[in-house]
């Protein structure tokens, strides 16, 4: 009747010394024993288990249940782990605890058990805005999917839908691509000067099948740039790889720009690039600056904050006096590459204070370190070039308004001017080349006067640059300023008399001219005559 047979009661009675227990008593006791057992196990012990936030009953729970009832606990089962029961052979529902006999000597001789690990708390994101990141701390995907499959209940589908997971992407690369990648990376690192590398660059720029490798390349570049900041050839090679990748029309590089841009910017504004003094890191900075600018131009519409972030980084480098001059140079070049409007907005307002800062660095008396001085002159040149470009753009707007009627009058032979400029340029530093070339190509037809003034200007330009080597101070004279103002005055006369256009156009033109004139004059004050090389020949004729 009861699950506790009366024989058990008899055995227990005998064990505590009651030998003459009548069968009626044991029969009456048996159901009560069962009731008490159930009470302890099913009610109290379960309660203790629940409040210990567990779902498996342990001996400890039974002990606390017994103590709740003021019964002495059962000793000898102290273990926080659930007990392991074994099934008795030949019986269906009989289980027993495997309680081995331990040799006392064995226990003493055995080494001390390891101390249990200390409890610790670790934190991780279980979900970010409701989506579980696939990190090792979270439940693996299989574990989530399989229970819902096993359940096969009607809400399985629901469950499946509710689990929103970001899976790690499995990327399958073909053997060929892997080989290609290995070869290219090896070439980049080991033989950046070889012809083979040039071929590789062409391949990178043309190949339509390398899209799967883009993430690997971007990672490789980011990694390698960080690692080989002291190795200029490798850096240059890496930047070339970047350029080739950017050129490749078949790959979709936008998602990886965030990885590439830091590397490029590093190559623009890093404090030290290359380990030897002889390393021409200036060239790398120019190259990278142009690269960054081209990225901005191409992907600026996709990432609206791309340019703003880039300029922010650069301007921070530029305006921080604690940064090295090399960094300033890079920043200026980077900003210059972004176009004249950026220079006008960001560089020009800061020009004067910066030059004051720069001046002592350039002077022989104040800066004894030749390296530093040279660097300062580099920066000076870059600054001049950048502002000059800006000025040039500014002035270029005027001919479109005013030149047409005059065009015919002054048109003589532009080629002379260009050739002369070119010749002159060859003596100049390579970093100044692009704007000059641009001027030469873009510039409207020169005049005889223009040629004359150009030569003069170019000499002036040389004057401007000559301090670079000689270390002489900048010529600061008040006269040019006056000249420019005078020229504006004379120009106004000319406009008034010569131009057949409406007065509105003229008024606008004058305003523009005034701005440009002011700009020119202020720049002239700062840079001396050197800046005049950036003005277009016909305009210069007006100003001077």
């Amino acid at each position: 009747m009861s699950i506790v047979p009366k024989e058990t009661i008899e055995v227990v009675a005998q064990s505590i010394g009651i030998s003459n227990l009548s069968p009626e008593v044991s029969l009456a006791l048996a159901p009560d024993v069962e009731y008490r057992l159930r009470e302890i196990m099913q009610v109290e012990a379960i309660k203790c288990m629940r409040h210990s936030k567990r779902t498996v009953l342990t001996a400890e729970d039974v002990d606390s249940a017994l103590s709740l009832r003021n019964v002495e606990p059962i000793y000898g089962f102290a273990s926080t782990d659930p007990l392991r029961f074994k099934k008795a052979v030949g019986h269906k529902d009989l289980f027993y605890l495997d309680d081995r006999d331990l040799d006392f000597k064995e226990v003493i001789d055995s080494p001390l058990p390891k101390a249990p690990l200390e409890t610790a708390v670790v934190a991780h994101w279980l979900a970010i805005e409701g989506v579980q990141p696939a990190i090792p701390e979270n439940s693996p995907v299989e574990a989530i999917v399989s229970p819902s499959e096993n359940k096969k209940s009607e809400n399985t589908k629901e469950d499946g839908l509710l689990v929103d997971l970001k899976l790690p992407v499995k990327h399958v690369l073909s053997r060929e691509l892997q080989l290609y990648f290995d070869k290219i990376t090896e070439l980049t690192v080991t033989r950046p000067e070889s012809n083979l590398f040039k071929e590789a660059l062409v391949s990178l720029a043309m190949d339509s099948g390398i899209h799967p490798l883009v993430p690997y390349f971007s990672y490789f570049i980011a990694d390698e740039v960080a690692r080989s900041l002291n190795d200029l050839p490798i850096l240059f090679a890496l930047m070339r790889v970047v350029r080739s990748l950017l050129q490749n029309p078949h790959i979709h590089i936008e998602p990886y720009l965030h990885q590439l841009m830091p590397s490029i910017i590093t190559c623009v504004v890093a404090k030290r690039l290359g380990s030897r003094i002889a390393d021409n890191h200036w060239e790398l900075r120019d190259f990278s600056a142009n690269l960054a600018a081209s990225v901005c131009r191409r992907y600026g519409h996709v990432y609206h904050n791309l340019q703003s972030r880039l300029t922010k980084t650069l301007i921070n480098a530029f305006l921080d006096p604690s940064k090295a001059l090399t960094q300033h140079y890079g920043a200026i070049q980077g900003l210059a590459a972004l176009g004249p409007s950026v220079i006008r907005l960001l560089v020009l307002p800061n020009l004067e204070p910066y030059l004051q800062l720069l001046e002592p660095e350039m002077q022989l008396e104040k800066q004894k370190n030749e390296m530093k001085r040279k660097e300062a002159w580099r920066v000076y040149g870059a600054l001049q070039c950048a502002t000059g470009k800006c000025l040039y753009e500014r002035l270029k707007m005027m001919p479109t308004l005013l030149s047409p009627p005059k065009h015919g009058v002054w048109r003589i032979n532009p080629r002379i001017a260009i050739s002369r400029i070119k010749r002159k340029l060859s003596t100049n530093n390579s970093s100044q080349q692009p704007p000059f070339k641009k001027m030469a190509v873009d510039g409207p037809a020169g005049t005889i006067q223009a040629i004359a003034t150009t030569t003069a200007n170019l000499q002036g330009a040389e004057d401007g640059f000559s301090p670079q080597s000689s270390g002489a101070g900048t010529a600061q004279s008040s006269a040019p300023g006056q000249v420019s103002i005078d020229s504006i005055g004379s120009r106004r006369e000319k406009g008034g008399s010569g131009a057949p256009k409406g007065s509105v156009v003229l008024a606008q033109a004058w305003k523009e001219d005034l701005d440009a004139g002011n700009l020119l004059s202020s720049l002239f004050q700062l840079f001396g005559e050197g800046i005049l090389s950036f003005t277009q020949s016909p305009e210069k004729s007006f100003f001077l």
């Binding site: 099913q42 629940r50 779902t55 690990l117």
Partner: protein, 660 residues
Amino acid sequence: MEEEELQKAVLTYLRKKGFTKTELALQEEQQNRLPSHSDLPLSRLENSPGRYKNGYSKLRSWAHCSLDLYKHELLRVLYPVYIHCFMDLVAEGHMQDAREFFQNFREDHELMHLRDLQKLEGILSPSHLEEMELARSLRQNKVRIKICEYSYDLLLQYLQKTQSFSILGIVNERINFEVSPGQPISISDDAEVVALVGSSHDLAKHINQKEVRWGLLEDSVEERLEKGNSDSEKAEDENKEIEPEENKAITMIFFKTLKRSAGGGKQTAPSKKSKKDKLVAATGKNVRSETSTVAVAPRVKPELTLPVMPMEVEKMIINDLRNRVQLSSMALPSVCFYTFINSHNGLNCSAISQDGSFVVGGFSDSSLKVWDMSKIGQSATLGEDQSTFNEHLVGTEEGKSSCTVFHGHSGPIYSATFSPLGDFLLSSSSDSTIRLWSPKLNANLVCYKGHNYPVWDVQFSPFGHYFASSSHDRTARIWSMDRIQPLRIMAGHLSDVDCVQWHANCNYIATGSSDKTVRLWDVQTGECARIFIGHRSTILSLAMSPDGRFMASGDEDGAIMIWDLSSSRCISPLMGHNSCVWSLAFSREGSLLASGSADCTLKLWDVTSSVKGQKIEESKTSTTNRLRLLRALPTKSTPVYTLQFSRRNLLLAAGALSKC
């Protein structure tokens, strides 16, 4: 035998004498008497233990064969009849038959009443009936069953026709039918049926008619702000109970910050307001009207000044409120999970401070350990480059160093809670004491003795200073930090009080018990204000919605129920977990409910949709609109012990990694 012989003798005598007419009359009379003869074996059957089994099995098959329309109503009758048949058998001493009967039909009811059956199974003698509280209360109280008129007639007709009087007797004696005219109620699993509990339904009904002032505190910062027509973020009442002048200071700060923000972007503030309005629209109108009618709530607070909140804390809270993420079914929270590793099955409870910077674990070895997570975070970021996962399994030095151990209890710790400001820590233990600790001083401050049995749960009030505890001694008690004696004792539960939770306005506490009911108690009077019946097993966790209107309760079977405090109705049962629901938490603006369970999942439920669903239900009397499960987040074999939304609506969760 004698009688028959006598009759024969009489008949032969009549024939001999030639009284043929008399003979016929006699025979006719004998014929007529035969049916009454058949009564004899029947009545004999009625007295035997077999009659219950017989009657019940007939009733069972009849109910199962009845028309589908009325079937579910008739089936409801079976369970009370079943257990009372069993108990009658036990009471009459037919132990063998009782057990046989019980086992025969057990399967029918296991789905709905497994836990009750497990308890009743243990009854083996009439004395047990008296001893076991469940059985006793079942015997003493009538089961209430809602039934439609026609079903009721059907049942009575059947019982009379088959003349199974024992069953009829049980039905009459034990069941209280609430006959309703018209069609049967379509909800087959009506909560009333499920809750076949000891408490008297009439009493519950009576209690539930009391008024519950569930509105928020009038003095709360939020309301002041609303009165001032300021459109700031919803300031919850965790803004502490502040003295009026302090309150002003807060509003001043609010205005200042608002002005500042208005200077920056004027269009942001109105848009925020409209958003908030929408959010609140479902419940808001009601809430507002109610709160405005609520008189200044009588506080439990004696003339004791609360710990004055430092200005920095106030600012921090306001800052948190302003930076709160608005959560909805579309915007789910981020969940930060604190995993206890190497706990060796010893972790009994855990708690997280409001800002998530401290985590406490209560262990079965009666120690209490506090981790400063901000320190762990720092060192973790330093060593980020190393393989993090191995580190986690092994247990790092950082984890060790930042842990403070509190010793003092002499039994397993069952609950711990941080004060709202995080400057105090309470723990309750099986040694029947509650201890107050200071994490700053690393010391035990007070030991509160009052309970007679293990204290299962302890909770700080939303404003601090007061706390409530619940115990195995079937009481819940209210304490203040400065008295070593309890201020109130709430007695009334029929079994252990397993969990306790404060109402948002501090005027009520809710308790969940092993008697499967949740009760709401008035803190001031100590009287029971509500009884919520509907759970089928022990209630393990409770949560109150921040607007004070709803309460969520989770039980051992994984069911979660959301209750409307004013109507004491269950809005919707939430099924989804398949093991104990250890913890529940409403998001700070009340739109989401998070539940953590022993089945190693954390689930997010949409509360706002359920409230709407309830309205639809009320208007159209359609089927229950189940609360929508928004997301189930499985953990890595880590049962979720505790959940908490920070003031900025970041969900913090903790659990112990259990190796399976």
